[in-house]
Every structure is written in structure tokens, then in C-alpha cells.
Symmetry: D2
Subunit: 280 residues, 4 copies
């Protein structure tokens, strides 16, 4: 049910992260090991912060494993901060406007999971999106609606609070319609400076999420790995499923938690949705 990867650290060529490692995200598009679905062939996307004022986004409906243009782009673009996503569609069409990451101004947003029985509460959710943001919704997915809800609830000012409010609102709407576990998933979002990662599900059995331990320690453990000498100490990867072949390189993010990757000021904290006052 989708896999994503988020990187924040030293500037690298995208291909060094997305193609080179063992069990890379591109490999996972064809054969994921941990995913609810093993094939993520219903499109992909990568959003990166580069030299232009707003982040670039490249999305396609083709399976990532065979997309020649993605390969070319990743070999020619380097970035200090990017989010990539491979998709297994559930319910919505395979079209570019349904591919992650989504973008609004400086912000990128990707998600692995779902809003349960989305069709039955989509109207309620869409109505809560700020009127000025409404026309920007271009696709059909639960993820994009969640993004615009988070923006409505203040993502650009207080990301953690906004995501908590958005998921809280989804849960309230869902439960009002008798849905037991309205939300499931992991989220990556960024403003080009920091990277936020969330792991939460109403059921308490969330999709997997991992992040790298600090590079200095990894460098001690694997002194022969050149890539570890190239990247800065504060470089960090967050992924749905580990990539590469370095045992001990990954921590699993706990249930109901949220992490901020902030170039030296990383933080991991508990996360809980914030129920809307008027609906509870």
C-alpha cells in the first residue's frame, strides 16, 4: 500500500539514494518485503528542493521500475531534501494527479496508508477544507484531501498540531459514520527546511516506518563504506521499509509517534490526534 522515502542532509544525487542501494525504493516498487501489497506499480513521484524557488515534482503513472525518465532525472538532479513515493492504488484511478508527493507552495506531502471508507466521508472532509484551498484539489485520493485539511488546520505554522487536528477531524467524521478505525498510515511532509514524519493509526497497528541512526555511529561501524564519509553527520533518511544492507542502521519509529528531522536538531515525540471541539 505504497512505500515512501524521505531524505534530509547533505546534497546528493537522487539516484545515489533511490537507485543504488540494495532493496532500494525502486526495487520496492516491484517487490516490497514489508508492504501490505508486494507490488507498488501504480505510479510514483519524487519531490525535491533544488535551486528553483519552489520544490520540483516529477510524477508518473508508469511503474517506477521501468521508467526511463525517472532514471534520467535522478542521475542529473541533486538535492539536500527530497521525498519519493511508489504507489499501489486502492480504489482511486492511476493518474498523475493521484500520485504523491502533493505540493502546495513550499510544502510537500506523502502518505502510506488510507482513510477507511473514504468514499462515505469524502464529502464531509472536502467541505471542511478552506474555501480558498478547495480549487487546488486536483485528484481523487484520501491523501490529497488530508493534505488540504492539514493546510486548513495550519500546517504552514505548526505542522505537528495541524496534522494532529487533521487526523483528529478524520477520526471524528469517520466515527460519526460508524467507522471503527478511520485512519491508518505514515506521513512525510516538509517545507524545504525541516522534515516531519508521522506514524499513527486509529487501530494502533500502523504501517511500518524506519529512520537511520546517526551517521557518526554508522561510520564507526562500517568504516569501509564510502557513502558514509560523503554525507554529513546530520543526514537522515526516513523510510517505509529499510533500504541498503547495513544491519544496525535502522530504528523502527514507535507507534503513535512523530519525528522532526531538522539538520542537527532532530526530535522524536509521541503523537496523538487532536479531536475537533465542535464534533466531540
Amino acid at each position: 500500500m505504497c512505500r515512501w522515502l524521505a531524505y534530509n542532509g547533505s546534497r546528493v544525487r537522487l539516484s545515489d539514494v533511490l537507485y543504488t542501494p540494495v532493496n532500494s525504493l525502486i526495487d520496492q516498487s516491484l517487490h516490497s518485503k514489508y508492504g501490505a501489497e508486494t507490488t507498488n506499480g501504480d505510479g510514483f513521484g519524487v519531490g525535491w528542493y533544488g535551486t528553483a524557488p519552489t520544490p520540483g515534482v516529477f510524477r508518473s503513472v508508469e511503474p517506477a521500475w521501468n521508467d526511463q525518465n525517472l532514471r534520467e532525472l535522478c542521475h542529473h538532479v541533486s538535492s539536500p531534501l527530497f521525498i519519493a513515493h511508489v504507489r499501489a492504488a486502492i480504489g482511486s484511478s492511476v493518474q498523475q494527479t493521484n500520485c504523491h508527493p502533493f505540493r502546495h507552495g513550499d510544502w510537500l506531502w506523502a502518505h502510506n496508508g488510507f482513510i477507511d471508507e473514504f468514499a462515505s466521508i469524502k464529502r464531509d472532509l472536502v467541505l471542511a477544507v478552506d474555501e480558498s484551498l478547495f480549487p487546488e484539489i486536483k485528484g481523487q485520493t484520501d491523501t490529497e484531501v488530508l493534505f488540504y485539511l492539514a493546510l486548513t488546520f495550519g500546517l504552514e505554522h505548526d505542522p505537528v498540531d495541524a496534522v494532529a487536528s487533521a487526523i483528529g477531524f478524520v477520526e471524528a467524521c469517520g466515527r460519526r459514520r460508524g467507522i471503527k478505525y478511520p485512519f491508518q498510515g505514515t506521513i512525510a511532509t516538509s517545507d524545504g527546511e525541516n522534515l516531519w514524519a508521522f506514524r499513527y493509526s486509529s487501530e494502533g497497528k500502523s504501517r511500518s516506518l524506519f529512520f537511520t541512526r546517526d551517521v557518526a555511529r554508522l561510520r564507526e561501524q562500517y568504516p569501509e563504506r564510502e557513502i558514509l564519509h560523503q554525507v554529513s553527520d546530520d543526514t537522515r533518511l526516513v523510510v517505509s521499509e529499510p533500504i541498503g544492507d547495513l544491519p544496525g542502521a535502522w530504528y523502527e519509529m514507535p507507534e503513535s509517534s512523530c519525528g522532526v528531522v531538522a539538520r542537527g536538531n532532530d526530535e522524536l515525540m509521541p503523537f496523538a490526534p487532536k479531536p475537533p471541539q465542535q464534533l466531540t
Copy 2:
């Protein structure tokens, strides 16, 4: 700004109507003569009534002129009633879910034109769609929203009244937001028995629309044309722009009119939008 063609009459191979004639709809996808845009290369679609319980719909984002699968399909499928459409996108993405014709149950729907400043009133329009129909909206276009408004207003029971109510509602919403001429366009819709065609614009300068004169008279005028001997007397074509090379074969549909092609009971009547009571 799109071209469409609707056929009701004797069963024919789709290719005999869509490919064979001079200035066919497929030719118009590349070089339209009358259209606001001369190239309609942003996707196409054809919906046909065949042997299955519901109409078939084939839609693609490729330019119609070069689509090999469309060519194959049209050579192998025959139908007594079908609607085809070539698209010039204005504002919305080139994706399959934005291609006409749209389908709901037995109904097909295609449109050439636009709702002016759609982004600014889309929310108002979408909110008026019946809650049970809301989850079926899959794309971004004004045309699809208009279709679901017409369904909300009773398309399946009284098509002319429902389209009048839908356009009336669009005009009321638009004018409330200061839009001078909210609606422009021609519409084709069918339930598999009859075919309805509408020509109307708030400005009174509507997109062109033509229909064929009766086949018996054409046969007298062009006795050497074999195709005219193959089709029944009550066969009729309605098109955005004339196809073929038979002078005298086409009538222009008047401004603000509506036609029903009903296999022998054809009717042409004036058309006016029906303003909503609560909004006027």
C-alpha cells in the same frame, strides 16, 4: 474547445462514422475548422451502446489521431447509438477521468464549452450534487460536475427539465459571484434509447451544433452514395462541426434549442435554463 459527435440509427461500425468520412471527428482532433481551438489533442473518448447491459466507454489521454487502440476498437465494434468526443483541455489536467463521455448507469454525457470561472464556483456546485452521487465524481472537469447536477435534478426522469435546472443553477451560482456569462456550450446525452442535444450559452453566442437532414431526402440528392442506402430513414447524426462532403446534408441547430433524436420521433424545441427558486 472540444468537438463531439452523436449517432442514433441503424447499427454501424464505429469506424464508418468516426474515421471514414472527409473531415471526420478524428481529423478534427488534429485540424478542426470551426473550433475555438484548432487542435483537440488532449484526449478523447467514445461511449457506445452494444450488447452488454451498460454502455461501453473507451477514453484515452493520447491524441485521437494517432491512437492505435481506438482505431482497432472502432473497426471491431458496431453500435446503433454512440457519442464520441475529442478534447482540448482548458484548465484541467489531461487524464482519463477528465475525458468525455461520462457515464452513470445507462447514461452517457458529453459537452463542448465551459462553465466560466469554474474554479470560483466549483465548491458551490459540488455541494449541490446529491450526497449519494458525490462519491462518483472522479475527475476535475466542469462537464462532469454539470452531469452530476443534471442527475441530481432528475436527468433519468425528465432530461430536458433536468438539464434546464442544472444550467439554471450554474447561472444562478455564477451570477451571485459576479460572473456575467456563466455557461457556454453544447451537450449530448443519452439513455441508450433516445439522444438529446442541447445548444445554449448565457451570452447567446453558443458553440456550433449541426444535425443531419432526413436520410430519405439525402438519398434522393446523392443516390450514388452507398452509405445512405445502408442506413435507415430515421438515422441521425448530431455534430459540433460537419463531417463528410455532402453539401446540403446539415442543418445548424438554432441558438437556445434542444433536440431529441428518438428513432422516428425526432423533435426540435426551444431551450431555456430554469432558475432555481431558492437562489433567485
Copy 3:
């Protein structure tokens, strides 16, 4: 490494064979059980004999499991004889001209397998294709070149002999270049009347191939299955991998064999390549 299905018998809707059964070919595009690759998401195709003079062919580069147009087509087209194929690309591009089945006049051709080290002997093979056929080669695949070799060696007159000569030629060219096992695979081909299926590999470990036992016996065994009462006694399916849920319905085709499905005159015989005289 691709999966294919060939049907010859009573006229049926394509969807009844391609979508309805358990573990259908469309399911196998996402999760094949027996294939060398488990995902066949690099395009698909279906060729069918219908009412038009030549067979129809619908091919697409999208994964079959999510292709809405394929679904529509299969629900609206019925045929007594068709070949469908889902593809896992190995080495060649994901493009429509590389999708099976290939067509020449009345003939269709699909293949599961490969010519080993094709790049190194492609030139030799292409040079042996009849000059009049050469311009028809449109894609990059080994399968298409093998088809044109078989046509060059007389496919239209003596299919079994022509396929034996084509594979024999491939083996001779390959071995001259030091390739140990030049050919691997199963082939389906038809002229619209009969259906030929081949299972052969230079190594003697061929891709799997199965065919249905006679319908009369199946009907006795599964009297409650309605589909078995609908199809004629001489209906037969040949598949890379069994579909449906009827134990005892399938025979495995032996190594190095060839079958003709000829509506009542079915035949299974040994198959061996025919080495070219000038090259041995």
C-alpha cells in the same frame, strides 16, 4: 517472464475468460504463481477474431490489472478465438510495439520466454527475415523477430514446420556464437481457424504450459458449473498457468511438444526444431 492464454471454442465475452475466473490472467499480471517473475506489469495485449476481416488487437503499456479500457473492451467484445498476454519486460522497452500478440494479416502470435543473448544475434536473425516482411517489424523484441522468421519459413502454409525451422535457425545462429541454450519458451499462434501451441526450450526445461481436458468430462465432474454448460464440447483453453478453481481440469503439456486446437480435431504431438541445412 510473461503469461499468456489462448481460447478456441464457443463464442464468449472476453471478460468471462480473462476477468471472471479465480487466478485469472489479469490477476496473474499482478501476482503470478508459477512465473519466473511474479509481476507481469510491463504491458499487455489481447488479439481476437471477431466480425471484421482481420483480427483486432488491443495493446497497452499499462499494467493490465488497472487498465480501465481493457476492462471495457473485454466486457463488450465476444469472440470464438482469442489470445491474451501479460508482459514482464526483459531488456526491451515498455512500449506498445513490444506488446504481444503480434499480428500479420490473419495471424496472431504470442510468446512466453526468450531468445538467449538476443542482442548478440539479433542482426543475424533480422537479416534472415524475408525482405518483403522486414519493414513490418516495428518493435524491439525477440518474439516479434521470431514471428517474422516463422512467416519467412512458411507459417501461413505449414505452421508446425515453420516454427520448427524458425527455432532451428535461432538455435543454429545462437550456437555459432557460443550460446548454450539459445531458445526458451512457449508460443501461441492462430490463423483464425485453428490454434497452435508450442512448448520447447533448447535446455529441455521449458516454461510451463497447460490445456483443458475435454469439456464433456469436466461437465460430468462439475455439473453445477454453469459456464461448462454454456460452452461447446470442443472448446479448449491453453494457458501458461492454470486459471479457475477446478482441480482436474488441466493437463500439463509435455516438454518438446506441439498441440493443435482445431474445433473437434485436436492433436498433441512431439515437437523438435528443424536445423537449417546451410548452417549445420
Copy 4:
């Protein structure tokens, strides 16, 4: 019949050249003024020299005017040397492997025009391609075969001589088959340092080709144009059809000529095909 643009000079964002100017190449994809066809909607490509060892190539079968990924790429990639192409297919399929520019090692190659009756001489031409290069031919186009012929005749060592030999060979093969005017077109090719442009046709009525006069003079004439102050004196554009709105900015390249854009050592010289010795 295609339009191309080649740029050599100061490093610029691709979008500043491909999107910003009036009548830009992307505009020409929808409405070309000079072309034999007015719509170039059958795919596009851009090849650029950047920071990676080999040039990047991004090619797509969608019309360029609506391709969101091309837009993103061009806003985020800058380059001192690039070739872009929009395509109107004649005879060959709309597929990525038929899109220009073609790439071999450091070399890029694009073409506007055609080899007349290509199908009838394709085999002769393909046979003349060096055996080691043969497996690299991936598409169906005359342009790609011409590129591999030029490589066979020494493009990497003496580009002007190699192109003269390749076109000479095409003319000899064509005339042997009774083709009056075997070659038509303009060609752009580069090794990442220099840019070569050719204008030639067997008939002496070649497709149009233009290049910019020197920047210093343009700066005097249009002192208020900021872009002219940003680019270096030795920057030059070569285009099928002028872009922008600066009268006096363009020279038409003469019939049967060849130009080298070499960052300060530009040269314009007569061009004539070189007939093969063995065929004349």
C-alpha cells in the same frame, strides 16, 4: 514535421529558453507557423549536458504543450548546451524510443525532415550500420538509423565528414531504388562541447533553419532586454523556426550548409553529401 532548438552558451535554466519566449518551442508544439505540419503533438524530447558524465535525455510521447513533468524538469535543470525537439510523427509509432534527441555516449542527435520511402530502403541502411552499434537501435525512425550510420562513418572523430558520408550513403541507396529525392532535413548534433547544425535536402528545398546573430550586436539593438545582458557573447541558438519577438535577431541558414557553434569559434560552411565509393 517536427521542430527543434539547440542552445550553446552560458548556463541557463531550460525553461528560460524553452518556455519563456514568445512563440517558444513549446508553443510551436501546438501551433507552428513555418512547419509542414502545424501541430507537433506526437511526443517530444530534450537532451542536456549537465553535471553527470553523460548527457541527460527526457523524452515523452505526450504532447509537449501539456506535459507537466517537462515543465518541472525545465524549471529545475540548467545547462550550457542542450537540444530540444517536438515531433509530428510520419509513418512511425508514437513511442518514447522514436522521440528525439537520440543519444550514444556523449553524443546527442535530432532531426527535422525524413528519408523518403524509408520503409523500402531501411533494410539496406540498417545493414550498413556497424555490427557493434546495431543492437543499440531501439526505435523505428529514419532519424535514429541515420544517427547510427553517421556513427558508423565516424561521427565521433569528424562530424561533418561523417554526416556527409551518411547522407551520401542514404542518397545512393535511395537512388538505386529509384527514389528521386532521398533525403530532406535539418540536423542538430553535439558532443557536449560543440554543436553542429546541418541544412540539406536532395531536392534543394530544405526545411527552414535559423541561428541568432551575435549577442553583442543584439544587446546594442535591444539594451532593455535583460536576458541579453545575462548571457555571454558567444551564446548562440539554432532553431527550426524563430522564437521570441526580436526582429533582426535571426539569420536564415543557407541551403546546403553546415554550422559549428564552438563557443567563440563559430563557423558556417557549405555542405554536400559524400557519395560512397562502392555504390557510385
